[in-house]
Amino acid sequence: MKSVVTTVVTAADAAGRMPSASDLESVQGSIQRASARLEAAEKLAAGFDAVVKEAGDACFSKYPYLKQAGEAGDNQGKVDKCYRDIGHYMRLINYCLVVGGTGPLDEWGIAGAREVYRTLNIPTAPYVAAFAQARDRGCSPRDMSPQALAEYNSLLSYVIESLS
């Protein structure tokens, strides 16, 4: 799992040397931003269900055709799966905020997603609408501190980029 610490250790191990002063410095640097990331992760976990519901509602209100017969959300089971997928992405964002890198999203969310969506004939634009809503909705200091919100929004943008 890619994070600052594992990257540093992998590089040091490839060279067969002890962790150097600069390795320790880069770990220290990531630790300094960690409290904002953990705050965002904690707040996201606390309001998780509400965030997922609002994001899912946004995609069906922007693309109401999805609920017509023959479309990707034409029965309740499919609609529920859409909310579930948004929940998965949000959960991975929560992990990424904790880890301090995009490792969890890359390995468990994004790798292969495009192929899966194409095979199942699922449009990705509604997901983009959902995460764009989540990104626009976050507000500091109501939801979290400015730095925490910046970390959260950058991961939402990362997901949007991967689906666009």
Partner: protein, 191 residues
């Protein structure tokens, strides 16, 4: 390879749950103690040669047969291999301590180590003894209870001669207990 943070992500993913307030509280502990941890890693890496050579010398003092003809440290070539292995083990322990998670030690060092030593005819008890001495001296360096530091404290003149880490004294009990657990992990993997 995992660190304390990605370990939390992997175990939360197994339950399909978010990382909640409980896990985050223990990670905040890691962050609060991060400087202590980095100082501890620095204490090991800065004294690695001393820690390794003392441990191998101690192991041989207790069992001089090792350097007599037929012993496992007998020609210099094999003695050098022993020192090199000590340093490799210490290096992976330093990585694990930096990451706050033993997975790098397990995956890259301990996996198959015992079998390799058995195949090469390396005596496991001697190797485990060397690791135990490395544990004692590493913990002394982390806590600054090593002989040099103590002597330097009582004698101003000696301060210039001995390598004293100029860190602020603080509570190192958690990080030194964690380091001790990694050394014990190596010893039990060899047992």
């Amino acid at each position: 390879m995992l660190d304390a943070f990605s370990r939390a992500a992997v175990s939360a993913d197994a339950k399909t749950a978010c990382i909640g307030a409980g896990e985050i509280a223990s990670l905040k502990q890691y962050i609060a103690k991060a400087n202590t941890r980095l100082d501890a890693v620095n204490a090991i890496t800065s004294n690695a040669n001393c820690i390794v050579s003392d441990a191998v010398a101690g192991m041989i003092c207790e069992n001089t047969g090792l350097i007599q003809a037929g012993g496992n440290c007998y020609p210099n070539r094999r003695m050098a291999a022993c020192l090199r292995d000590g340093e490799i083990i210490l290096r992976y322990i330093a990585y694990a301590l930096l990451a706050g998670d033993p997975s790098v030690l397990d995956d890259r060092c301990l996996n198959g180590l015992k079998e390799t030593y058995i195949a090469l005819g390396v005596p496991l008890t001697s190797q485990a003894r060397a690791v135990a001495i490395m544990k004692a001296s590493s913990l002394a360096h982390i806590n600054e209870t090593n002989t040099e530091t103590q002597m330097a404290e009582s004698n101003q003149m000696l301060q210039q001669r001995y390598n004293k880490m100029a860190t602020v004294k603080g509570d190192c009990s958690m990080v030194s207990a964690e380091a001790a657990s990694y050394f014990d992990r190596v010893i039990s993997a060899l047992g």
